[in-house]
Amino acid sequence: MSRIHPRIPLGASRAGTSRRAFLTAGGVAALTLAVGCTGGTAEPGARAGTPGEGTPRRGGRLRAAFPGGGANETLDPHLANLFVDVARAKALFDKLADYGADLAPVPRLAAGWEPNATLDTWRVRLRPATFHDGRPVTAEDVLYSFRRIADPARAFRAKAALESIDHAASRVVDPATVEFRLKLPYAEFPNVLAAFGAYIVPAGADSFERPVGSGPFVFGSFKPGSSLLLRRNDGYWDGGPHLDELEFVIAGEESARTNALLGGQVEYAHELNPATARVHEGRGRITVLRLRNSAMQGFVMKTDRPPFDDRRVRQAFCLIADRRELVDGALSGAGEVGNDLFGKGYRYYAASLPQRTQDLARARALLREAGAEGLTVTLDTAPAATGFVEAAGIFKEQAAKAGVTVQVRIGNKDTYWKDILTSGTLASYRSGAMPIESHVSQRLLTGSTTNATHWRDRDFDELYRQIQSTPDEASRTALYERMQRRLHDEGGFLIWGFADWIVATANRVRGVATNAPANTLDWARFDKVWLG
């Protein structure tokens, strides 16, 4: 999730947040989700506010402060990289589907989808919707948008997510139906429709100075790096927004966002520190909201090189971690403990596996068996995400109790994710919300592009292929459990926690969903918000 903030030494308060909020691996991420073979539906997120929030009131302007970065000078939704980019893109554009709170895809511009028997051809039916200029959204627009993202000459973020589609063979069936041909069977193809950045733009659109989308808000004015003003789209297919106007302002410093909110200059502030949240929670001046399960926090062990090519060493490290201490120390308690598996609370998560806890005696025994007593390991970290450097320091202390020497090496935050992909043996890691299937396909298969644990296993790849060739959801669930059991037992991810994403609003703001991990449909969804 993200990076925000200028990384200049502005003093202690900048505690390691990174300035750009990335949405995936280090940030919040998004890619695809899993859904059954029919259109999924999801419980709408719980909406915050007092029990008697009452009837939505129409009117007013909501100003929302987000961290930004130099790159957010564009409104091209396919270039979205940071949280603010996504928040702006979803106000102006729609995707075919989006993620529910459990990261299962929910139909949006798509009214539904059906696969063929072999799961390698999918028909997606569009609902009636129009772009801001009055043109209907058609199958042509959908194909154009996906082909633009997949253009080999460009480097759009969602390109990897659309890798499964054979774009040349996909076709328009009729104006309201698209047929996607896939390279392989893909039971969870609807995840692709909800993929991060897979917005539908009008056919032919390639300039976004004055963006035209189908989303709940219409473009007003844009001052790059400073503010974007949007107006209500009364004709929105999902019901017009309550707000007359929505303004996004960029404020890289967390303290500046908080101050602007406290001073009444904005009504919504995205991404606050846990310490700030604790100061203001229950004081009545502003409303603090915690979006649970938004960011996985952990360490990655490279499974293809010593010492972590021995599974007993990996198991020992998982037993060294005191998860509660890491959550309390590195996240100031704003989160919950992890069980070395990605996707707590998401669809297909293997909640039945026992929670791992610290067991130093067992860890020492495993290290002894592996001939790795008195081991010394370098842990790579950087202030690339909140809590990274703190967590590394805490883990170092914990490892010392098991006779393991951890040397913390602090690298460059701007190049961190690339640096740890191939180098080193142990590194801090985090990930935004995405379906478990996306996490597996992007990071755990032999051909995965961001396989930071270097987990390359034929049987495991085969299991993934088997899941994606299985039409029946109950059978898929069982296969997922098998897959996660294996990862839990000997994988290279030490996942110690899941961080809350903290946002705050003025007290008169109503309708902000809290059951919405960052990156899901109901997160930063301003069409459902009103000013009381």
């Binding site: 691996a25 390109k159 990897a160 400073s226 302002v249 960029i250 410093e253 001073g263 592009t449």
Partner: protein, 317 residues
């Protein structure tokens, strides 16, 4: 005197050389940073193939010398190039950021001179008295507080508790002069350190000047104390202060980075921080040029002023 006449001319010629050196040095330093714009943009999705494609589309696959050469060639035609990240012309980016930063720095300098000279002269004329001791203690204390901490403190007190002033510049869209209340806290933070430094220099210079033979001579001429102070002693006392003032202008470029981040002012400091994080070389180069020209010009003027105020003072160019 004739030897002195060549000094300003030599000093003038040095400026362009310094600017060119700054620009090349900044380019080399940015190149030396780990990673490049493609890596920074790929962020947490560092798929090697994707990075290669971004690199290609940005033209980063060309040699270092080739890229610097191309940049200089374009510059010769008055073109600063385009941002690697957003594709916007660098000149536009700089123009957008220049206004707010100029307002901040301008207001700061305009207030800085009377404030610091006034405090310094006041302290010098009451040398050893309670006023002098109070000013000296205060300037030492304020100078010790980092800008970021001072800014947080002032915002908490005056904006959030007393609600006299807006906590940030959110909503002004860079039009600071239209909303002067927004300027108060940022300018106070920017003034805090240089006022202290220059006031102390002026005080020291004044005390020295007041004890000098020519001031004693002016007194014997029967001139009033005030007249002696302001027309005879002060110009000599100002020579070191004017050079410090020039250095303050350099420092302001750094100070605005902190202040802009703290108060959400979309100026050059913000552009710089973003550009460095994104390894957006054309933008960094454009900024280096602007900062280089400003710094060299300001120091040049300061040196010439110093020569004028106190021709006997050696100027270290």
């Amino acid at each position: 005197m004739s030897a002195d006449r060549g000094r300003p001319a030599r000093r003038l010629l040095l400026g362009p050389v310094q600017i060119a050196a700054v620009v090349v040095l900044i380019f080399a330093l940015t190149e030396a940073l780990p990673g490049d714009a493609a890596v920074a943009l790929a962020g947490d999705q560092p798929d090697p193939e994707r990075i290669a494609r971004i690199r290609e589309s940005m033209g980063l696959d060309r040699s270092v010398g080739g890229r610097l050469g191309a940049w200089i060639e374009r510059l010769a035609h008055g073109d600063l190039g385009t941002s690697l990240v957003s594709g916007r012309p660098v000149a536009d980016l700089l123009a957008d950021g220049f206004g707010p930063t100029l307002v901040l720095a301008g207001v700061t300098v305009v207030l800085l001179v009377p404030l610091s000279v006034g405090l310094g002269v006041l302290a010098a004329r009451r040398e050893g008295g309670p006023v002098d001791r109070l000013i000296s203690a205060l300037t030492a204390a304020v100078h010790a507080v980092p800008e970021f901490a001072l800014g947080v403190l002032l915002v908490t007190l005056f904006a959030l508790e007393l609600r006299w002033l807006p906590p940030t510049a959110v909503g002004t869209d860079g039009d600071l002069l239209g909303r002067p209340a927004v300027l108060v806290l940022p300018v106070v933070v920017l003034l805090s350190r240089p006022v202290c430094t220059i006031a102390r220099l002026v005080r020291a210079g004044m005390i020295e000047a007041m004890a000098s033979p020519y001031v004693a001579h002016a007194r014997r001429q029967g001139l009033s104390g005030a007249r002696v102070c302001w027309t005879h002693a002060l110009p000599n006392a100002l020579a070191p202060a004017s050079q410090q003032l020039a250095r303050t202008c350099d420092w302001l470029l750094g100070g605005v980075i902190v202040v802009e981040a703290l108060f959400v002012i979309p100026g050059l400091g913000t552009v710089l921080v973003d550009a460095v994080a994104a390894r957006d070389i054309p933008v960094i180069q454009g900024l280096a040029l602007v900062f280089g020209v400003v710094t060299v010009s300001v120091n040049l003027v300061a040196d010439l002023v110093t020569l004028r105020l106190a021709p006997r003072v050696e100027v270290a160019a």
